[in-house]
């Protein structure tokens, strides 16, 4: 049996549906983001965990130049090592039928037994794995095979270790090592230009002259093992064989990218919901406060007939919780639906064989509790203040508002404002709390929009830095081995090459006492014009003749300051360790690499300067000729076409940003809509008598509308600067929350971002206010006047 009060509750909710929905929508945003962020993260983590588990993804990875298989028992005996999986890895240039550009690939050997590898087992998606007795057979990384239309049975040519050979595709596979696949020297995945080949062990050993040896090893750890301990032992054992430094999953490219994405999702679920929840708490307070004020006589009556204060308070609290429930349901459904859509979207970038969309129940529970606490808190003060009134007082209409002269008068007199404008200003000063809610809500909208839109600015800056300021080459050639300076001269002779400059990148581990970081040391030639070092102000940094230059972030991790000496452990032959002073740190938007002048590194290595990548400025018209020449040069392991990369980079970013911009704009607009619509409805309900009086006095509809809409627009405009400041701070938070070792967003907010955010919010506020103004137009003057009389 539903009690009379509960019936009233349901009818109130239905009667106030527009306002209830406006608040519930804001609340739902908070619930949705929480469910969406944590749900998507949990789903991706669950999918990844299952994938890693089934395909036995390694824990520690190491490469060497050539290590004998006789070393394996010693490695297996390292304390903490559970299983080991050695293999041969090399690079190949592929010559695909009808494809002009050189396509590069990693070649991985499969065990000689023909069984799946102990660790990092590829997952067959089509066809079969290669037969160990057929050296021409390969399995292809499925997305690459699909991008190039290489079905099982297809044939193509590959140059492996300088030998051109024909290969036949037996099947398509996915691998836990390649959830996110990026070619060497590339900036982003390109399934058409970089592939992975799995080849029988015998064929791989023959091609690389690695019979009885391996150059890549994955290790799984036993429970409770110390990863740093195993890494140190591996490095010790492999050092004589050109080991390049073992690393854990954190430095495995695919894992690191996916991990950084998961961390960003976590950050989103942490940063956004509090904003929406706070705004909805204020909205509930505002709307309930007004409802209770309107229902004062009813409250008095209820008390007079014997309802307890507690029962009446519970009634209004239930109303707030009702709004909360509507918000929770909308938020859950939207969060679930969008979470599934977002998880699907991730399959574009992360090649997981399956997706388990199974968000755990806790985000739902937590978001519901948070939402209910939010509305209850919002309702608290409004309810507490009013239900305590004695019945006789409650049944009287509330005392008329008392206005006082204040700053509004000084402004009004100074500017000679019209009386309708004075009404607006005095209303704001008379109810500063309510004005503050509107101000705060609108500012929050602006902040959300700025924090979303600024990513365009950040990306634009990144694109400008990467493709205009830092990298002025349009092609980078990756060499199979470091070569001396002559290689640069040879490259200059390739078709279409206008400028050629070499660089040497070496894997190193930097040490400062107990601190160590794995990174790349790049030696830049003097007078570099193509691939330059750029600081966060976009200025080219010229390297000192001696000493290291580190990005600030890396220096901070190692607790280094300029002048300190850094121990640099070379992880590729000749595997020397140098003590180099840190000459300077630079603020860098991109990259966490160490830099040194080429002559300085050559002097340390006591050898003539070497290069393993060559940056080229090429006449675009001659690109096909260059590509053909590169294909025929075995010393070149790969070619990166920067124009193509920029195109893909921009397209991917634009697509992703378009989606997120639409979502965040909607969220930002919802806050403004919720705040302004409710404020306008409350104003209309409180002031209908006053506004009708203006109509009686001969004011036109537009002039009366001005009083209602004007106040909200004044507050909206006043909220903009507040929103700009909050938006900038919010953007800084996003930069902090979303920046990882892999991606570092620069904090840059352009004026147009402030402009757009302001324009969208102001237009939404105007729309919301005008929606209520239409109600004002429909007000019956005589009825409105009678309401008081």
């Amino acid at each position: 049996m539903v009690s009379a009060l509960d019936r009233k509750l349901l009818r109130d909710l239905l009667r106030l549906w527009a306002q209830v929905l406006a608040i519930a929508a804001v609340l739902a945003c908070g619930v949705m983001v929480l469910v969406l962020g944590t749900g998507t993260r949990a789903s991706l983590e669950a999918s990844r965990a299952q994938y890693y588990d089934r395909q036995r993804f390694g824990d520690v990875f190491v490469t060497a130049t050539r290590a004998p298989e006789t070393l394996l028992p010693e490695i297996a005996a390292i304390e903490g090592v559970a299983r080991i999986s050695p293999r041969i890895v090399t690079q190949a240039l592929l010559d695909l039928p009808g494809v002009t550009e050189p396509v590069s690939a990693s070649v991985l050997s499969l065990p000689a037994s023909g069984a799946a590898p102990v660790l990092n087992a590829p997952l067959l998606r089509a066809g079969r794995l290669p037969d160990p007795s057929h050296p021409e057979e390969v399995a292809l990384y499925a997305p690459f095979a699909e991008a190039r239309g290489l079905a099982p049975g297809a044939r193509f040519f590959a140059v492996i270790e300088g030998q051109r050979r024909e290969l036949v595709v037996t099947g398509h596979v996915l691998s836990p090592e390649y959830i996110y696949t990026i070619g060497p020297g590339a900036m982003m995945p390109d399934d058409a230009l970089f592939g992975v080949l799995w080849l029988g062990h015998t064929a791989a050993a023959a091609a690389t002259d690695m019979d009885g040896a391996f150059n890549s090893l994955s290790v799984s750890l036993s429970r409770g093992a110390s990863e740093p301990g195993v890494i140190a032992a591996l490095d010790h054992l492999l050092a004589p064989y050109g080991g390049t430094g073992a690393h854990g999953r954190a430095d495995q490219v695919s894992h690191a990218f996916l991990q950084s994405e998961l961390e960003q999702l976590g950050a989103m679920a942490l940063i956004l919901p509090p904003i929406f929840l706070t705004v909805s708490a204020f909205l509930v307070n505002m709307v309930l406060g007004r409802l209770i004020a309107l229902e004062r006589p009813q409250i008095g009556l209820l008390k007079a007939v014997g309802y307890t204060t507690r029962a009446i308070a519970a009634h209004y609290l239930k109303l707030a919780l009702g709004i909360g429930l509507v918000g929770i349901v909308i938020g859950w459904v939207a969060g679930w639906y969008l979470g599934a859509a977002m998880t699907r979207m991730y399959t574009q970038f992360f090649r997981l064989p399956w997706l388990i969309y199974a968000p755990s129940s806790w985000p739902f529970a937590v978001s519901a509790v948070l939402a209910l606490v939010t509305v209850a808190t919002g309702a608290g003060r409004a309810v507490a203040g009013s239900v305590r009134l004695p019945p006789a007082v409650a049944m009287q209409p509330p005392a008329p508002p008392l206005f006082r002269r204040g700053w509004a008068d000084a402004i009004g007199a100074g500017l000679g404002l019209r009386q309708t404008t004075m009404m607006i200003l005095r209303s704001i000063t008379r109810w500063p709390g309510r004005a503050a809610v509107t101000l705060f809500g609108v500012a929050a909208s602006v902040a959300v929009l700025i924090a979303s839109f600024f990513t365009y600015d950040a990306m634009e800056l990144m694109v400008d830095e990467i493709f205009t300021k830092a990298n002025r080459q349009n092609v980078t050639l990756m060499l199979a081995q470091p070569e001396n300076d002559r290689a640069v001269a040879d490259a200059r002779a390739l078709p279409g090459v206008i400028v050629a400059e070499g660089a040497l990148s070496l894997p190193v581990r930097l040490h400062n006492g107990p601190r160590a970081e794995l990174t790349t040391l790049t030696a830049h030639p003097a007078q570099v014009t193509l691939s330059r070092l750029i600081d966060d102000q976009g200025r080219a940094v010229s390297l000192p003749d001696h000493g290291l230059v580190l990005p600030e972030g890396l220096a901070r991790k190692l607790a280094l300051a300029p002048g300190d000496r850094v121990r640099v452990e070379g992880l590729s032959p000749p595997r020397e360790t140098w003590e180099i002073p840190l000459a300077a740190t630079i603020r860098q938007t991109l990259g966490q690499e160490a830099h040194i002048a080429a002559p300085a590194l050559a002097a340390l290595m006591r050898q003539a300067p070497q290069v393993n990548r060559i940056n080229l400025r090429v006449d675009p018209a001659q690109m096909p000729a260059l590509q053909a020449a590169v294909k025929a040069t075995p010393a070149i392991a790969g070619l990166a076409d920067l124009a193509r990369t920029q195109e893909q980079f921009t397209a991917t970013i634009n697509e992703n940003l378009a989606i997120s911009t639409v979502i965040y704009s909607a969220l930002g607009m919802l806050i403004t809509m919720g705040v302004v619509y409710n404020a306008a409805r409350i104003q209309l309900s409180e002031r209908s008598h006053e506004l009708a009086s203006l109509r009686v006095l001969g004011f036109r509809r537009a002039e009366v509308g001005y009083v209602l809409v004007g106040e909200l627009m004044v507050l909206t405009l006043a909220a903009l600067p507040l929103g700009w400041a909050a938006g900038y701070g919010f953007a800084a938070l996003v930069v902090q929350g979303f920046s990882t070792d892999v991606v570092a967003l620069p904090l840059v907010v352009q004026r147009r971002t402030f402009g757009w955010a302001s324009l969208i919010v102001a237009a939404t506020a105007l729309g919301a206010a005008l929606l209520v103004r239409r109600r004002l137009d429909r007000i019956d003057i005589v009825q409105a006047l009678k309401a008081r009389d």
């Binding site: 009686v696 001969g698 003057i781």
Partner: protein
């Protein structure tokens, strides 16, 4: 007799609320002449407020016609009616209908700012004896003072027509007298045709003409050969 400022012919007004139909006016024909002060006298529910609302273009009759000079208000669109109220009519209500956010002077300025040839707000307030209360908010004024601000606001635009709905209804008799004095003063000084609605029989003595309304009709009409000043009115 001078030309009528306002006249209505055979107006009726029926309110429908759900299935219930209430006939508030049942064919009223009357006129209001320039400079004239008319009291519309009737009991509660007799239809006098409805009549005043229709005369002031706040409401439209179900049938019948209302003319302001030669202009027929009953055919005019909403915009015309707004212009009529803005330029030609002053209203005074029982509960003052002042803007609580504006001071006395500003409440009057609210109207003078949109009028064609208004008097200064200060002048209007001086006419009703409130020259010393210019900067007080309504909440700081007594009921009588608030009503006099409402009168100042109504007359500041120099309207041809002043329509007052129970102007003393919320006041004690002494305060009511000050309000009526302000109204008669304005009527004689500015020649504004004034209609006062009241259920207070005593007030009829200050008018030139009294229209008695009962049950939605004009029951009778009397002319006061001798008017008495408000100070002598008792109730």
């Amino acid at each position: 007799m001078s030309d009528p400022v306002l006249r209505c012919e055979n107006i009726t007004r029926i309110y429908r609320t759900g299935a219930v139909e209430v006939q508030a006016l049942r064919g009223v024909t009357m006129r209001l002449d320039a400079g004239e002060m008319v009291v519309l006298l009737g009991a509660s529910g007799s239809g006098k407020s409805t009549l005043l609302n229709i005369l002031g273009a706040l409401d439209t009759p179900t049938s019948g016609r209302v003319f302001f000079g030669d202009t027929e208000l009953t055919r005019a669109p909403d915009r015309e009616l707004t212009r009529f109220r803005r330029e030609h009519v002053g209203f005074v209500f029982q509960f003052y209908n002042l803007m609580p956010a504006l001071t006395a002077r500003e409440n009057v300025a609210l109207v003078t700012e949109i009028a064609a040839d208004p008097m200064r707000p200060e002048e209007a307030l001086e006419r009703v004896g409130l020259g010393h209360r210019l900067h007080h908010f309504p909440a700081e004024l007594s009921g009588g003072e608030q009503q006099r601000v409402a009168i100042a606001r109504a007359i500041a635009k120099r309207p041809e027509l002043l329509l007052c709905d129970e102007p003393t209804g919320a006041l004690d008799s002494a305060t009511g007298v000050t309000v009526l004095e302000a109204l008669t003063q304005v009527n004689s000084d500015l020649g504004t045709a004034t209609a006062i609605i009241t259920h207070n029989v005593g007030i009829q003595a200050i008018a030139h003409r009294v229209i008695h309304i009962a049950d939605g009709r004009i029951a009778r009409e009397t002319i006061n050969e001798v008017r008495i000043p408000p100070s002598e009115v008792t109730w």
